[in-house]
């Protein structure tokens, strides 16, 4: 294996590839990564498969090439490393069975410590993460404030202001908080057992992990509980649950542990928890499965919709789950081709940064279809809304529970009576 020393004492005729002098541990690690990638023949399959590589990101192939060429400066200088959403598609498709995703993750870890030409967005995200690492969960306000303080202002100011207003309203003493039917916590239920939305006793209780973003939008949080209740599902939400550890915002260590399966409302949570060894699954899957089992239908907000599942999910499974919901609701799901519905929404490093080719294509398709966009991810919803605003397209975008809910059942009537 070539060591850093080999690299430094290479043939004297070679042009220096990096002007910066890096410490030996960086060169050793780079040499090790290059060795791991040495059988790469630049077929580009990884970039072809990368959901965020449409335009803003030039893809894993180029990063591997820079790594092999010893262009450490170029590797660390660009934002490319930080555009990765860690979905792992590159590793899945690699013809040479290189673990590309892990190579990129290790490069990011190196850059975090040794990179000099920092990606400003990453620096902002890191500052936010540093504050958040001490807390159990990411606070969106703190995160956004830290990023703004570092000179990073979200591209969609209107959207950001809206979100800020919502958060402020939720927090103001005596504000909208009271009206936003705060879901019962474990403690509440302990005080009043059996007072759930479904008194007929056929309901189930599922352990629920709300994540960091949902609790900060009180109305949406309440809506999730309400919709679940419509399915006869009580969400047992651990209010003190820690961070899922998803690295999309920087290096936040996971602070959540669970024994059995937990249900989530966020693909990043799913991904983060799964990587931490927690069995996590989307809440929507449980709701749809329950509707199928109990034989009741779903009610939808429109007669057709265009799905958007985000970059972090198992694309085909997520699309199939949405198709299942569409089937139960008797509405049409309009799909152009699968990768259109999971390309990057424009949230790079965790915050909206402008419409991407992917979101542009998706929105055009939805506009042509005359159908709203439905997504199982609340963050994606906000990003797609921002993109629509930027493109001046009227395409409503809904979070899953905003679009689907359980239909009224005859049984419900009787139980009320």
């Amino acid at each position: 294996m070539p060591t850093a020393a080999d690299r430094r004492s290479g043939p004297p005729t070679d042009e220096p590839t990096s002007t910066t002098r890096y410490p030996d541990e960086v060169l050793d690690e780079i040499a090790e990564l290059a060795e791991e990638c040495s059988i790469c023949y630049q077929c580009g399959t990884c970039t072809s498969a990368c959901p965020t590589a449409r335009d803003l990101y030039r893809g894993p192939r180029r990063l591997v090439r820079l790594l092999l060429a010893g262009e450490i400066d170029a590797l660390f200088a660009g934002d490319d490393l930080w555009r990765c959403s860690e979905c792992g598609a590159c590793t899945d498709v690699c013809r040479m069975e290189i673990d590309v995703a892990s190579v990129l993750a290790r490069l990011r870890a190196l850059e975090r410590v040794y990179g000099r030409q920092r990606c400003p967005e990453r620096a902002a995200a890191e500052a936010a993460a540093r504050r958040l690492a001490r807390r159990p969960r990411i606070e969106n306000t703190a995160f956004a404030a830290a990023m703004a303080a570092h000179g990073y202002v979200p591209r969609d100011v209107v959207g950001a202001a809206e979100a800020g207003m919502k958060i402020v309203r939720t927090r103001l003493p005596g504000g909208k908080r009271a009206t936003a039917a705060v879901p019962p916590t474990r403690a509440d239920r302990a005080r009043a057992p059996g007072t759930a939305a479904r008194p007929e006793g056929e309901g189930v209780t599922l352990p629920f992990y709300a994540g960091c973003s949902l609790p900060q939008d009180g109305a949406l949080h309440a809506l999730v509980h309400e919709v679940a209740a419509g399915f006869g599902v009580r969400l047992d939400e651990a209010t003190d649950a820690g961070c899922c550890g998803h690295p999309s915002r920087g290096a936040v260590p996971a602070q959540f542990q669970a024994d059995g399966r937990v249900w989530t409302a966020c693909p990043a949570c799913d991904d983060g928890l799964t990587k931490e060894g927690v069995d996590a699954a989307p809440l929507w899957d449980a709701l749809v499965a329950r509707a199928r089992r109990e034989g009741f239908a779903l009610r939808a907000r429109a007669t057709s919709f265009v799905p958007y599942v985000g970059c972090l999910v198992d694309r085909d499974a997520a699309l199939a789950a949405l198709a299942d919901a569409a089937d139960l609701a008797g509405v049409e799901m309009r799909v152009a081709y699968p990768s259109l519905h999971n390309a990057c929404c424009g949230a790079l490093g965790g915050m909206y940064r402008g419409a991407t080719k992917g979101s542009t294509r998706l929105l055009r398709f939805a506009a042509e279809s005359g159908a709203p966009i439905v997504t199982p991810c609340s963050l994606c919803r906000d990003n797609v809304r921002s993109a629509a605003r930027q493109m001046r397209l009227h395409v409503p975008t809904y979070f899953w529970p905003e679009f689907f809910r359980a239909a009224e059942r005859p049984a419900e009537e009787t139980s009320h009576a």
Binding site: C46, S48, R54, S339
Partner: protein
């Protein structure tokens, strides 16, 4: 006169040693090589040799007068051993070729390339070394190579596979006068080539075969090609090989033939097919079917699909359908076997990740089948697809599927792309490729023509083919050269799938006892020099050893025919006599039989009357060496724990020579080298006159595998300051495992010497002929290291620095005769112990 020959050929190593002890004094022909060996005092040398042998001096034995004198000596016929002390054995063999043909048999003591030419002006030291070389030769006779006849070889050959490769080889072998059994699993000859449409690079069909009649360059369709009708060519259709017994030269092969059911009376009217009620597995075909008319069989019955209803037999106007036929077994004898089983397109599950199975995704094979219909559409002015995307390396060069390149898919794609552009100039044809491999005569022109025709080439390959709401394919692919992603929305995706060995290959290899390579194709014996031999007497040609274009298949078919012809006609092997197991010492362990690279050694039940060592019980095993298979490399003799195997260059001779060569030398360096690659390097280096110290004493072995720990330890015991083992280039041992055996023996010797507290440098080198210019310096450096001669070492290192790593000869006697490029090739070896050649 010719008694010399018969005497040598008959004598085993033991018998020879006895003959020496008792026979007359040997005769040494001392050659001064026309005065080019000025550093040897020949008077002193001759006087010293005269104590042990009769010396005949000559200034120039290979000159006209010398040769005449030699002839005279030969004609005396006094049965003395002749030892030629002069140039190397290789050089002498060329110089005395004509006399050798007339019966001259002589041993060689190399005092020229191995002594005078490679040493300095110290006349005393060089003369002493020359003397030791001649003495070693006189005292320990070497066996001269001779023709050893092997067992009878059947004048017949079994060819498995009736595709282009097998059929062409069969026709040529029959023409050469051998009986040929051509076995084909399917009912029809012609293989894949006859069934596909046009082939590159000629754009005509693949149904023709060269004829063997007098006109050169004539080719004819299979069904018109009379070469296949040769009376000695037996065609076995629907036949498989069940078992193979016997040995190379005389295989006994059991064949199983399924009946054709349709006899030669068939006139190809096709009535049977119209009445047949049973569909076959392939869509559009029935249980009675025709495939490709190779001139003999027209139709046949798929026995899996047939319900034996008899409708076809009733309909047949010429009573050509005979349901009374039944499967049969037959045994044939063959001197050689040729495997020509070809390859098949990769199974579809290799490309299901690219949407295969969905509408709008086909393979190149299927596109070829669609093209005739598209041609008709083109004539009507229709364009069946607006945009076509071809995906190269579909499931190939991919560790998850086929890791290798199938070599012909690029050309097939170019062929089809150009055909499409020609039929439909407005069609958008995009080829997604990883690398376009167009290495073949005239192939690059096709690439050029395709670019000119407007075919788009996109470097990149999609991980999947998706489908939109209308079911149309969507390909999202990185255009690698532009570093951006493209979304292609073709009407048709064409997958260039790879080729794999037929599923029966592994089974057949097992029956034949041959090896498969890492990709499942038939392993060839040598990837540089022997493309058509897979084992002794078993040959391979065509795509059975890896996918190939038709021109290569055809070339290999002719090559294999010549090789089989040589194999069947060969009278024997020229070489040294086989090694012999001494039953009185053999304990029946399996070391030799495991190590023998040629499977020449078998363990048999020890015959009751065979002698046995004291510790062996009655039911012990005994190793037996098949003299017809043994190549006399000596690996078994070197590794036998009981020293029970006698090689023609036995331990007594090697140890004796070692003693003779090192006697009276201060701190000698002993080098064992094989006479193949290392021998070439050392002998050519000697002719180059690159100097090394006189204290270096070399012992030539047939293969480095002959060296045993015993020899190394004995060299050290005799005072050697260092020992080197020089063999062939890495993994290129001419006896396959000699270098591995030597490495093991070196390890054993090092361990034992370390136990005895003897720290002597022992190195193993891998040399080949290109090292001729650096081998002397390598020896000098080793000598300096072993004798701790710091001054020389420093000088050598300085020398290496000034020549910048280019292996120009060090201490060259002949300046100006140096090829810089030849020297450069050896630079890789200078630093380390092992050379990097031949890979």
């Amino acid at each position: 006169m010719n008694d010399v020959r018969s005497g040598t050929a008959a004598a085993g190593a033991g018998a020879m040693a006895a003959a020496t002890a008792a026979g007359p004094r040997p005769r040494v022909l001392l050659c001064e090589c026309a005065g080019t060996m000025a550093n040897i005092d020949f008077d002193r040398l001759a006087a010293a040799i005269a104590t042990e042998a009769e010396v005949v001096r000559g200034a120039h034995w290979c000159g006209r007068e010398g040769r005449a004198q030699l002839l005279e000596i030969m004609e005396r016929g006094d049965e003395r051993r002749l030892i030629f002390a002069g140039c190397s054995a290789d050089f002498a063999a060329r110089r005395f070729q004509k006399l050798t043909a007339r019966g001259l048999r002589m041993e060689v003591a190399d005092i020229r390339e191995g002594c005078s030419w490679v040493h300095g002006d110290d006349v005393d030291a060089v003369t002493r070394k020359a003397l030791s070389l001649v003495e070693a030769a006189v005292r320990f006779p070497a066996t001269t190579a001779d023709v050893l006849s092997h067992g009878r070889r059947e004048n017949s050959v079994l060819i498995i596979g009736g595709g282009v490769a097998g059929t062409q080889a069969a026709a040529e072998l029959a023409q050469m006068g051998h009986r040929v059994e051509l076995v084909e699993r399917r009912p029809f000859l012609g293989g894949r080539a006859a069934r596909i449409g046009t082939v590159f690079p000629t754009n005509d069909c693949g149904q023709c075969l060269p004829t063997t009649d007098d006109q050169p360059g004539v080719r004819k369709c299979f069904h018109r090609n009379e070469a296949i009708d040769h009376p000695d060519l037996h065609i076995w259709r629907r036949t498989t090989v069940e078992s193979v017994n016997g040995r190379p030269g005389d295989f006994e092969v059991t064949l199983r033939r399924l009946p054709n059911m349709v006899t030669d009376a068939c006139v190809n009217c096709g009535l049977c097919e119209t009445v047949c009620p049973e569909p076959a597995a392939e869509p559009g075909t029935k249980a009675i079917f025709h495939e490709y008319y190779d001139g003999r069989v027209v139709r046949t019955i798929d026995l899996d699909a047939c319900s034996f209803c008899g409708a076809c037999a009733q309909a047949c106007p010429v009573d050509a359908i005979d349901f009374t036929q039944s499967p049969e077994r037959a045994t044939v004898h063959a001197g050689a076997i040729v495997t020509a089983t070809g390859c098949v397109p990769a199974p579809h599950d290799y490309v299901s990740y690219l949407g295969y199975g969905h509408d709008g995704v086909v393979t190149q094979v299927e596109l070829a089948e669609m093209l005739p219909a598209w041609e008709e559409q083109a004539a009507l002015g229709h364009m069946p697809a607006r945009e076509v995307v071809m995906v190269q390396c579909a499931g190939s060069r991919d560790r998850r599927y086929l890791p290798y390149c199938s070599r012909i898919c690029c050309m097939i794609a170019l062929k089809h792309a150009m055909r499409l552009k020609k039929l439909f100039p407005r069609m958008k044809v995009t080829v997604c490729y990883l690398e376009l491999r167009t290495a073949g005569i005239g192939y690059e022109n096709w690439f050029l023509a395709a670019r000119r025709a407007g075919v788009e080439f996109l470097r990149g390959t999609p991980p999947e083919v998706q489908f939109d709401g209308d079911g149309r394919p969507v390909i999202e692919v990185e255009d690698v050269t532009a570093a951006r992603k493209s979304v292609l929305r073709p009407d048709l995706v064409v997958l260039s799938t790879g080729l794999v060995p037929p599923s029966e290959t592994a089974e057949m290899a097992h029956v034949l006892g041959i090896e498969l390579d890492e990709d499942g194709f038939i392993e060839i014996l040598d990837r540089k020099n022997r493309a058509t031999e897979t084992a002794e007497g078993i040959f391979v040609c065509g795509s059975a050893a890896g996918p190939k274009a038709l021109i290569e298949v055809s070339t290999e078919a002719s090559a294999v025919a010549s090789e089989v012809h040589n194999f069947l006609r060969s009278a024997g092997r020229r070489g040294a006599p086989a090694s012999v197991v001494d039953a009185a010492s053999c304990v029946g362990c399996d070391v030799c039989s495991t190590l023998c690279p040629f499977n020449a050694i078998t363990l048999v039940e020890r015959p009751a009357d065979a002698p046995r060592p004291a510790e062996v019980k009655d039911d012990g095993k005994l190793a037996v060496i098949d003299a017809g298979v043994c190549r006399a490399c000596g690996i078994c003799a070197a590794n036998c724990p009981e020293l029970a195997i006698t090689h023609h260059q036995d331990d007594a001779a090697i140890l004796g020579r070692l003693a003779a060569l090192t006697a009276g030398v201060d701190k000698p360096i002993v080098g064992f080298y094989c006479k193949e690659c290392a021998g070439a390097a050392i002998s050519l280096g000697g002719q180059h006159r690159d100097a090394y110290p006189e204290t270096v004493r070399l012992i030539e072995l047939p293969c480095l595998g002959r060296v045993s720990a015993l020899h190394i330890i004995e060299a050290v015991r005799l005072g050697a300051a260092g020992v080197f083992l020089a063999g062939c280039a890495e993994d290129r041992c001419h006896y396959r495992s000699g270098d591995a055996s030597a490495a093991e023996q070196k390890r054993i010797a090092e361990e034992l010497l370390a136990e005895a507290g003897l720290e002597v440098p022992i190195e193993q080198w891998h040399l080949c002929a290109v090292d001729r210019l650096s081998v002397a310096r390598r020896i000098r450096m080793f000598h300096a290291r072993a004798t701790h001669d710091e001054a020389t070492l420093e000088a050598l290192e300085r020398e290496l620095q000034t020549i910048g790593g280019h292996g120009l000869p060090g201490g060259a006697v002949l300046a100006g005769a140096v090829s810089a490029s030849g020297g450069g090739a050896c630079a890789a070896c200078e630093g380390g112990e092992s050379g990097a050649h031949g890979r």
